[in-house]
Symmetry: C2
Subunit: 319 residues, 2 copies
């Protein structure tokens, strides 16, 4: 049985800045709790303010250090910051990632910084379903900026990073990241490229490589956004101002061209679709309990019908 949840009280507490209330709401998202429907309805009028900043890159490029430096920069501006760390590549490492973040962070005691990691629970497509809702919780709870951090450059990382308004792709010299990035489609989702550890040998080569790849991939009209490539040494705070400037420029460009709203409408559409599919799946599950699908499956196994004809029957029964 799902625990009873006092949604209005929880949402009010989260909006008043209670980290425990925010944590509880995100747990509801992780567990696909039935109360989510009520939570999202209560949050709706308070959402749409947060700027979601995606941060992705392979392990070892200094993602935690960069995130930490960016959080400091946003705090200097007086912004409330949420950090959501997701690891789509593993159902197990949610905890480890959170531990990492807490160790790395200068901000663990700052009440205006909320840090949270999310596990995928081994559920295929789970994070692309749950991440937008977790972002919505942080947004509704009054975060001005949400840093959405993902690990690696695989397909599902690209999907998660695609949930951001502005996506930072982190690279480091001599890691062959460029080639990997190109393969995994990270080039297409990167709005700002950051070459961190730029005091290391090969930094300029990496910058040149990535600029070259950006120019190769270009099918841009005049006025389109051209992703800048910024060098940083995040551990020393070098280049952080330039990254912030690049982010500001990207936000200004998106607002000027209506892209920010366009991206958000696209994302909300995806989210609606995912929730609708989930609802239809659940109805289909009921149909399976009721033996409807099993009878058809028996016919398929016996070669008396085929899966497509059977699926038609199922869809007809649902609709």
């Amino acid at each position: 049985m799902a625990r009873a949840v006092d949604v209005p009280a929880l949402v009010e507490a989260a909006r008043a800045g209670s980290p425990r209330a925010v944590a509880r709401l995100i747990s509801l998202v992780e567990n696909a709790h039935p109360a989510l429907r009520q939570v999202m309805a209560a949050l709706a009028p308070h959402t749409g303010n947060a700027h979601v900043l995606g941060i992705t890159g392979s392990p070892g490029v200094g993602k935690s250090t960069c995130t930490n430096a960016l959080v400091s920069a946003f705090r200097e501006r007086g912004k409330r910051v949420g950090i959501l760390a997701v690891d789509p590549s593993s159902p197990f490492s949610g905890g480890a990632l959170l531990g990492d973040r807490i160790r790395m962070s200068d901000h663990v005691l700052d009440p205006d910084v909320y840090i949270r990691s999310m596990a995928s629970r081994g559920h295929l497509g789970g994070l692309s379903w749950s991440t937008p809702q977790a972002l919505r919780v942080l947004d509704g709870a009054g975060c001005d900026v949400i840093l959405l951090e993902t690990v690696g450059v695989g397909q599902s990382e690209v999907e998660v990073a695609g949930l951001a308004d502005t996506t930072l792709v982190l690279l480091a010299p001599g890691m062959g990241d460029g080639v990997q990035a190109a393969k995994a489609g990270i080039l297409e989702i990167g709005d700002v490229f950051v070459v961190n550890k730029a005091d290391r040998e090969g930094a300029d080569v990496t910058v040149r490589d990535i600029r070259h790849m950006i120019s190769l991939g270009e099918r841009r009209a005049a006025g389109d956004w051209r992703p800048p490539v910024v060098k940083t040494v995040a551990a020393k705070g070098e280049g952080v101002d330039e990254v912030m400037e690049a982010i500001d420029k990207h936000v200004a460009w998106m607002q000027e061209h209506g892209v920010l709203r366009e991206r958000r409408v696209k994302r909300a559409g995806d989210e609606i679709e995912a929730i609708a599919i989930r609802a239809l799946r659940s109805r289909m599950g009921d149909l399976r309990q009721g033996k409807g699908v099993d009878d058809l499956a028996e016919q398929v196994v016996d070669g008396r019908t085929d899966p497509y004809a059977a699926a038609d029957t199922v869809v007809d029964a649902l609709t």
Copy 2:
């Protein structure tokens, strides 16, 4: 535009043993071609004969060598053999895997052995949708045995391996596979465990470890299948007879206990569900083209509604 396909001719050619026709049909599956519906209807009466043998294990355990040895053993029994190699962990490596198979195989010129790899096309959940249909093609084309080979021990590998009647999990000494296997749930899907490279140091430890883990995981009633652990040196053909014997025993046990049919009905049900969901997604896509979802998405972005309420509207419109 999709190319026109003469389905009856293609299915007839595939059933008569044309590798080109089989290849074409599997390409239709990979591309989710509209003619699939007609293909599956034409194949239905001819399916249900093939024994699907799943083979999974980490890179380096000798999967190709084992597969090769098993193919020889099935060919000695006069069986027609299909090999379907899928790599769910990468959208790119389909080709490489096929190359591997062709290099490794003694059977490349044998007309009664059909070898095919399948790429995931970067589509989340793509392989769990397309693999059953590719198996159905090979089944309908007259394969007596289909070896379904997957790489690795991640979540999607487990899903693909779960499409088999009998699943072989390959391990090698000293690779720490045991721990990984336990984590990824391979223990639960393994019907036969094969410790390959058993002439290496540590083979007996690996056998003991895996037996221990099987016994730990047991919640078995009397008469349940207890997965055997077999040692092989596939490169020298050692232990292959024992693996074949273990497979035979598993098939006999499944038939005796009605498990074979049960598994196939369960799988056909999953397949029907996946096709139905796809059809519903496509209707939803039409709804998106028609601006229905976009209007709702705008309302979500403006905080005038929430994604759940919007999803309700979408489901109502579909049903």
